[in-house]
């Protein structure tokens, strides 16, 4: 079974495929969200230490995972776009960034709402929180650079270089922040998710996984739609776009 993947690397063939993918992943994501939310709120038991408030992790952890995963995928697409000069790769990187930034923000927001009842404070300068904040800055920088350059090809390649520099830096930033945090252990607030994870019951883990997959499929659906718009924007003058739009009339 040799599928010719390169066939789909041209925007003309990818555009209709992306439309179908968006629909299917959108439906799958809604179904998974319903199941995941039901599991998170009605099946998963109340945590005996943290009460009902712990249920925030069912959105917080998937959002945090997705934010990091999306940055990684975005950097890979950006690198592919620079190495092979494929137009579609850069468009994918550009389409991923806003959703990545959104999940980063949700992770920060929900983390803050978790912190208030659990630790009694909205914000802690904890290593993980600070790293997540920096990740948000990196996403914003990527999008800002992209929108500041008018020439689409130059914008794609410049922001691609930035994404690669960011992904090389990310581990260094993460470890330096973690190390900084251990140095400044002023307020002794222990991260209790660690405890939750080790003694987490299977049902909690499953609900979290279902929610993560729901977020993942959601991302695919949204990104596919966004990449369709970017393709139309960039390829507006090509013949295939004109023929396609003429046919549908």
């Amino acid at each position: 079974m040799a599928i010719n993947w390169f066939k789909y690397s041209s925007p003309a063939t990818f555009y209709p495929l992306a439309g179908r993918l968006a629909v299917w992943f959108g439906i799958a994501s809604v179904l998974l969200l319903v199941v995941g939310l039901y599991m998170s709120f009605f099946v998963a038991p109340t945590d005996y230490k943290q009460g009902e408030g712990y249920r925030i992790i069912y959105i917080h952890v998937p959002a945090a995972w997705m934010s990091m995963f999306i940055y990684f995928v975005m950097a890979c697409w950006a690198a592919a776009g620079i190495i092979w000069r494929t137009r579609l790769s850069s468009m994918m990187a550009l389409a991923l960034a806003p959703t990545g930034a959104m999940f980063t923000f949700i992770a920060l927001w929900t983390g803050s709402l978790w912190g208030k009842p659990m630790w009694g404070t909205w914000w802690v300068w904890d290593a993980r929180i600070v790293s997540e904040l920096i990740l948000l800055f990196l996403f914003i920088g990527f999008m800002a650079l992209n929108s500041a350059i008018d020439d689409a090809r130059r914008a794609a390649r410049a922001s691609g270089v930035l994404a690669i520099v960011g992904i090389i830096n990310l581990p260094i930033i993460y470890y330096s922040v973690q190390w900084w945090n251990t140095l400044h252990q002023g307020a002794t607030i222990k991260f209790s998710t660690q405890g939750v994870q080790s003694e987490m019951s299977e049902i909690m883990l499953y609900s979290m996984l279902v929610m993560t997959f729901a977020c993942w499929f959601y991302t695919i659906a949204v990104v596919m739609t966004r990449v369709r718009r970017i393709i139309l924007e960039r390829e507006g003058n090509s013949t295939w776009v004109k023929e396609m739009l003429q046919e549908e009339r």
Partner: protein, 222 residues
């Protein structure tokens, strides 16, 4: 090959010496930012001593970042950069030369000035030496990493503000270890570990940043 490096450094230094006020502006910016903090926070010596390293380092970050605009923009405006991109010498080497010259003009004065500012904040002698060494190791890394951002935003509208969004998050490790070194000396512990880590960051930046900045310049000039 090193001839080319030397030529680029000497050329950029000569150009910088013709616009001496630019150099001084960066330095005065650094001094003013540091001097503003006691006015904002209050004159308690204990508090000032505790925050001295962080304040000086953040000011150094901002001063370096502001001076990044000059790194390539003049050459870009008069077309020299296109010639440099087409030159037979590797572009990353030329970029390295320009970054070294930039550091000598923008970074080195900060290193020399920092102990004086540290004195104003009541730092001890050991801490002042640690501050100088940390800046000596850190500011070249700042110039190197910043060169990538400067290359990417070349000729882009709103480039000055944009470069800060791109570059400042990448400066965070240098800031953490730099300020940490001074703090750990103040607390009576050695700072060898910090200096080793900063040295590692500097070496990594030396190996990777000229290459990244050269790629950025090629994209911008093309």
């Amino acid at each position: 090959m090193f001839g080319a490096l030397k030529t680029v450094i000497l050329r950029d230094l000569t150009l910088a010496m013709r616009h001496r006020s630019d150099v001084l502006t960066t330095l005065f910016f650094f001094i003013i930012v540091v001097s503003l903090f006691p006015l904002g926070v209050g004159p308690e010596p204990e508090q000032l001593r505790a925050m001295a390293a962080g304040v000086v380092w953040v000011a150094a970050l901002l001063a370096t970042m502001l001076s990044l605009g000059r790194l390539f923009s003049d050459d870009y405006a008069d077309g020299t950069l296109e010639q440099l991109v087409l030159a037979p010498q590797p572009l990353s080497l030329i970029v390295l030369g320009k970054v070294i010259a930039h550091w000598m003009v923008a970074g080195l004065p900060l290193v020399i000035m920092a102990p004086l500012l540290g004195l104003q904040f009541g730092l001890s002698g050991d801490a002042l030496i640690a501050l100088m060494i940390s800046l000596l190791l850190g500011t070249p890394a700042l110039s190197l990493i910043g060169a990538i951002g400067a290359g990417l935003t070349l000729g882009v509208r709103g480039g000055g503000v944009l470069v800060s969004i791109l570059v400042l998050p990448l400066y965070i490790p240098v800031l953490i270890f730099g300020a940490g070194a001074v703090e750990s000396v103040s607390a009576g512990m050695g700072a060898e570990g910090h200096f080793a880590l900063m040295g590692a960051i500097l070496i990594m930046a030396l190996l990777l940043a000229p290459w990244g900045a050269a790629a950025a310049l090629r994209i911008s000039v093309e």
